[in-house]
C-alpha cells in the first residue's frame, strides 16, 4: 500500500496509489454514498410517507432481486465479459419451477430446480464463451432469445401458479419486524461476493483477466476456467433471483422479468465498474443498487410513471460515465 508511485507512471494502478483515507475520500463509492444520501433527503422532503419503515421495507423489493444478479454480473464485467441473458435465465428457471409444481414438487425441490436451471444456463453460456472462445455479448444475446424462447414454447400464453404456501417465504416472508427474507439474502450475497472479489486470489485473478487476459494467462491464471466459474455464478444468482421473484409474484409467465438485463447492467456500471473490464468494486454496486431502488421508489411515491423513470435511469447511466470523462478533460485543459 505505501510503495511510492513513480512520478511518470503511465497510469494509476488500482491499489498502488495514495493512502486509503485519501483514496476513499475521493472515490467513486463516496460519491455514490453522497448521491444516495441526497436522494434519501429529497425523498423525505417530497413525500411524508417515505420514512415509514414498512414503506421503506417495501421499497427494497425494487432492487434486491436485481442486485443479487448485479453482484455476479459485476465480477463478470470486471473480467471483461458480459451476460445479457440473465433475465431470460429467470424466465426459464421460473418456468421450470412452475412445471415442477404441476408435478407436485415441494418447496425444497422447487428451490433446487430454480437454482439448478440457473446453474445449467450459466454453464451453457460459460461453455460457449470460455471453451469455444466466442464473444460473450453475441453468445448471450443468442441465449437471451433461446432461454426465454424455451419458456415461451413451454408456456405459450399460459401461466403457472399454485405454488405451495411455504414457497412464498422467499419473496414475501419477514425475518424480523420489517427485515424481509430478500434483504437478508441480498446482504449475504453481497458479503459473499465482496469477499470473493476483494479478499481471495480468485478475485485478484478476475481483475488480472479484465486488465490484460494475455498477461493473466502467462501469469499462470487459468483464464477459461475463471471465466467459466463467473458465468456459473451469474447463472446461479439469476436462479436465486428467479426463486425470489417467482415466490413474490406467486405465478410464472414467460414474460417475467423482461428487460431486467439492462437494469442489472446499468446498476453495475453506475456502481463504478468499468464496462471494458479491469476495475470496479462490490461496495460500489451495493450503493448503486440502493440508489436505483430509492429513485424508483421516490418517483413511485410522486406518481411518476415507470417509463419516465427509465428515461432517468438511461440519463443516469450515460451521465455517470460521461461526467468523470468530461471532468478529467476540463482538468487537463487547465494544466
Amino acid at each position: 500500500m505505501n510503495i511510492p508511485e513513480p512520478a511518470s507512471a503511465p497510469r494509476a494502478l488500482p491499489d498502488r496509489s495514495r493512502g486509503w483515507l485519501a483514496r476513499s475520500a475521493t472515490s467513486w463509492e463516496t460519491l455514490l454514498l453522497l448521491v444516495a444520501i441526497t436522494i434519501f433527503l429529497i425523498n423525505m422532503q417530497a413525500s411524508p410517507y417515505f420514512l415509514d419503515p414498512w414503506n421503506l421495507s417495501d421499497a427494497t423489493f425494487n432492487f434486491t432481486e436485481k442486485a443479487m444478479i448485479a453482484f455476479a454480473m459485476a465480477m463478470l464485467i470486471v473480467a471483461g465479459e458480459i451476460d445479457l441473458s440473465v433475465a431470460s435465465i429467470i424466465a426459464l428457471a421460473s418456468t421450470a419451477m412452475g412445471f415442477a409444481v404441476q408435478l407436485g414438487a415441494g418447496t425444497p425441490v422447487l428451490v433446487l430446480v430454480g437454482l439448478g436451471v440457473g446453474l445449467l444456463c450459466g454453464a451453457f453460456n460459460g461453455l460457449l464463451v470460455a471453451r469455444f472462445g466466442l464473444p460473450s455479448i453475441v453468445v448471450t444475446i443468442g441465449t437471451l432469445s433461446l432461454f426465454r424462447g424455451i419458456a415461451y414454447i413451454v408456456l405459450g400464453d399460459q401461466a403457472y401458479s399454485g405454488y405451495p404456501e411455504s414457497f412464498a417465504w422467499f419473496g414475501q416472508g419477514y425475518v424480523f419486524w420489517v427485515i424481509t427474507v430478500e434483504m437478508v439474502l441480498f446482504a449475504l450475497v453481497a458479503l459473499a461476493f465482496g469477499v470473493l472479489l476483494h479478499k481471495t486470489s480468485f478475485g485478484r485473478a478476475v481483475y488480472a483477466i479484465g486488465n490484460n487476459p494475455t498477461a493473466a494467462l502467462f501469469s499462470g491464471i487459468r483464464v477459461p476456467r475463471v471465466k467459466f466459474v463467473l458465468f456459473l455464478l451469474t447463472g446461479l444468482m439469476a436462479g436465486l433471483a428467479a426463486v425470489c421473484l417467482t415466490s413474490r409474484l406467486g405465478s410464472t409467465r414467460p414474460s417475467i422479468a423482461v428487460g431486467w438485463e439492462l437494469e442489472v447492467v446499468t446498476m453495475v456500471v453506475l456502481g463504478g465498474v468499468n464496462i471494458l473490464g479491469g476495475s470496479g468494486t462490490l461496495p460500489g454496486v451495493v450503493l448503486a443498487a440502493i440508489i436505483m431502488g430509492l429513485v424508483t421508489f421516490g418517483f413511485g411515491l410522486m406518481n411518476v410513471p415507470g417509463i419516465v423513470m427509465s428515461i432517468f435511469v438511461g440519463l443516469l447511466l450515460i451521465a455517470v460515465i460521461a461526467l468523470p470523462v468530461l471532468g478529467r478533460r476540463l482538468v487537463s485543459l487547465r494544466r
Partner: protein, 344 residues
Amino acid sequence: MSGLLSRRDALLALALALLIALVAWRFPAFARPTSLGGVFTDSSILIILALGQMMVILTRCIDLSMASNLALVGMIVAMTNAALPALPVPLLVVLAIAIGATLGAVNGLLVWKVGIPPIVVTLGTLTIFRGLIFVISDGQWINAHEMSDGFKALPRLTVARVPLLAWSAIVAFAAVAVFVSRTGTGRALYAVGGNPDAAVYAGIDAGRTRCIAFVIAGALAGFAGYLWVARYAVAYVDIAGGFELDVIAACVIGGISIAGGIGTVVGALLGALFLGVIKNALPVVDVSPFWQLAISGAAIIIAVLFNARAERRPGRIILKRAEQGVTIAVPRSVQGKSVQGESA
C-alpha cells in the same frame, strides 16, 4: 462485385434455399413467387435496419437503440400526420430520416467526443428514446383512422408489381453496397473495425468514422420508423419492442463479426431474410409462433460458432489461441503480421 459474394455468403444463401425447399416440400404454396415476394416485403424493415447495424458493427461498435429510434420517429411522424394531415407524405419521410439521423448523431457524438463505450451509450439511449415516446404521446395510441390515407398507402403503392416497402429495402441495399465498397468513408468502416490503430496511421479519423456509421444507422432506423407506422397503421409506446435483438441476430447470422471489420451487405441481407423466412414459415408448417424466439436464439448461437471458425485466419489466430492456453509456434509466414496482436 464478384468479391461481394464471399464463400460464407454463398453457404448462407444455400442454407436459406434449403430452408425454403424444406418448407416447400411439405407446402408447395410457400415457394410460389407471390408468397416469397410477400416474405421479402415482410422482411424489408428488418433488412433496412440490419444494413445500418452492419455499418455500426463493422467499426467495432454496436447500436442497441435502433428499435427505440424507430419507435420514437414512428410516433413523431404519426403524430405530425394526425395533427397536420395536409402535410405531404414525402416531406414526412424526409422528416423521419432527419430525426432518425439526429438521434443516431446523439449516439455517435457520445461515442466519438466523450469516448463512452458504444454498448453503454446505446443501452442508455435505448431506454431514453423509448421513454420519450411516452412523454410526447402521453401513453396514447395513434390509430389508423387518425392517419391520412396517403400516409398509410405509400408503402403499399406498387411499382412494377413490387410494393414500395420492398423497393425501399432494395434501394437501401444498393445504396449501402455502393457506399461500403466504392467510397472512402465506406472503406474506412472496414479499416477502423479491422485494426483501429492501423486505421489511424493510415490517416483515418476512427471516431469520426464511427460517428458517421451511427448517423447513417440512425437515418435508416428513422426511415424504417415511418415504414413501420405506415404499414401497421398504428403507433404506440411499445412498437418494435425488442426488435433491436432481431436486428443484431440478422447481422450475426449474416456473418458480420461483432469484433469488427468483417461483414458484407449480402450477409446482412441474407441474415435478415433468414429470420424473415423462419418467421413466415412457422405458421405455414403449423408450428406455434411461440417457437420463433427460441429458434432465432439457436440460429444466433450456431451462426456465432460458425463465424468464429471463419474468422480464425492467420494474423488474428495468434492472440485467440494464446488466450485459450494453447502454446503455439508462430509460423514464419505470419510472423510479420503478429506485430498487431502483440501490440494490442
